[in-house]
């Protein structure tokens, strides 16, 4: 190993130099006065370089720099706050829309229910009755055990009780009792009030859909809805609700 190789190995030029090379370099230096003096001088020079006075940044520059950093941080924070505000605003708007939607769904006009009832009434043909009887007691017995609520079958003034069947009103099991007045069919739906989009009024509400009169009222947690092609005033009188 010559002087240059030894000095390079010792300077760390060859980080992959194996221990043996390091040992060889050290051995060379031990026997070489020129290398010893050179390495000694290099160390002194390194020490002088390390101790060179550093030029420091001016106070004005430091102040300018940190002012700029503060400004940038402020902008960044403001940006983050704006983003958080937008996020919160979006969340609030979404929640409000959801709440409004839910309220609308729960409390929307029962006109859809009326349509549903009218449709069901229209589809009722005598052959579809599940039980035929003119006796309210018989029909009540027939419903007994089939529904989660008691069905009280009333007589309708001027109409004849025909029969009854089970049906579903918006996924809720309901009782449907039929009457006939002259040639007009009267459908009387009875179903639990809870959970359905019905009016909360106990007083009867009258509506007309597709030419059919629909009278609804609530009584003891049950909703009653009577549908017929008869005129609503006459129907109210027949039901003794006037």
């Amino acid at each position: 190993m010559n002087c240059r190789e030894a000095q390079e190995v010792l300077a760390g030029s060859f980080p992959s130099a194996v221990d043996q090379q390091q040992l060889q370099a050290q051995e060379h230096v031990r026997g070489c006065e020129r290398c010893q003096s050179r390495l000694q001088e290099d160390m002194q020079l390194r020490s002088r370089v390390r101790d060179l006075a550093r030029e420091k940044p001016s106070a004005e520059f430091k102040e300018k720099l940190f002012t700029e950093i503060s400004r940038l941080r402020w902008q960044k924070t403001a940006r983050e706050r704006r983003f958080q505000f937008r996020l919160a605003a979006t969340a609030v708007i979404t929640l409000v829309l959801l709440a409004v939607g839910t309220l609308w769904y729960v409390h929307r006009s029962p006109s859809n229910l009326v349509d549903y009832l009218v449709e069901d009434h229209q589809e009722n043909l005598p052959g579809r009755f599940m039980t035929m009887s003119s006796s309210p007691a018989d029909i009540e017995r027939w419903f007994d055990g089939k529904l989660d609520f008691p069905v009280h079958v009333r007589m309708v003034r001027g109409a004849e009780l025909v029969g009854a069947r089970l049906c579903r009103v918006e996924n809720t099991q309901a009782a449907l009792v039929f009457y006939r007045c002259r040639s007009n069919l009267i459908s009387w739906f009875i179903f639990p009030q809870k959970g359905l989009r019905t009016s909360s009024d106990t007083a009867p509400t009258v509506s007309v859909a597709r030419g059919y009169s629909v009278i609804q009222w609530n009584d003891k947690g049950l909703t009653h809805a009577v549908v017929s092609e008869l005129e609503s005033g006459e129907l109210l009188a027949m039901l003794a609700l006037k």
Binding site: N2, C3, R4, Q7, E8, A11, G12, S13, F14, P15, S16, R34, S37, R38, E41, D42, Q44, L45, R46, R48, V49, R50, D51, L52, A53, R54, E55, K56, P57, F61, K62, E63, K64, L65, F66, T67, E68, I69, S70, L72, R73, W74, K76, T77
Partner: protein, 183 residues
């Protein structure tokens, strides 16, 4: 300066406060390094400011905060390289075998700080940077290789050759001085 910190603390994040503390701790070294690179006060200030602002934006991504010093030095060095890539790189002075192994004594103790500083400033860029990072800032060769993005062997080689060049410059300076003294 502390008042500035207080102002920024009241409205900044904790991360921003840590950044300012770390920057302040290493600002002098960063500035000295920039000055060695640019050899001009205004250019060094611009370089430090650009590096500091760029580092602030990226500070959240620095996972090991103890690597802050080498990290911000790396940012500064990259900015410097970007700014100077279009300019022609300083040509590396060819070293002769005699420069590496000559036995002429430098008489280090007789050198003035200004002479050493001036010789250091006039080393080719690559050598000057490695010498500053190693001998002035005390970075290990591995850290320097990370800052410069070059193999550790290259760092060692540049250190060896840079020191040899510095030595040659100083010997020439001493010879010139003694000749002028004689005449």
């Amino acid at each position: 300066m502390r008042s500035l910190f207080k102002n920024s603390k009241s409205r900044g994040s904790d991360s921003g406060d840590i950044y300012e503390e770390l920057l302040l701790a290493h600002l002098e070294a960063l500035y000295a390094f920039a000055l060695r690179l640019t050899r001009n006060q205004h250019a060094a200030e611009d370089l430090v400011q650009e590096a500091a602002l760029k580092a602030l934006k990226a500070f959240g991504k620095l996972r090991e905060k103890e690597r802050f010093k080498s990290w911000i030095f790396q940012i500064l060095r990259n900015i410097f390289l970007d700014q100077h890539s279009s300019r022609s790189a300083e040509s590396l002075e060819d070293l002769q075998e005699s420069d590496l192994i000559d036995g002429e004594s430098l008489l280090v103790e007789r050198l003035l700080n200004e002479e050493i500083s001036d010789a250091l400033d006039h080393l080719p860029g690559d050598y000057r940077v490695v010498l500053c990072l190693s001998d002035v800032e005390g970075f290990a060769q591995k850290e320097i290789s990370e800052i410069l993005g070059c193999p550790i062997g290259t760092v060692g080689s540049r250190l060896y050759r840079g020191r040899a060049l510095l030595r040659r410059k100083l010997i020439r300076l001493r010879r010139k001085g003694s000749q002028e003294g004689k005449s």
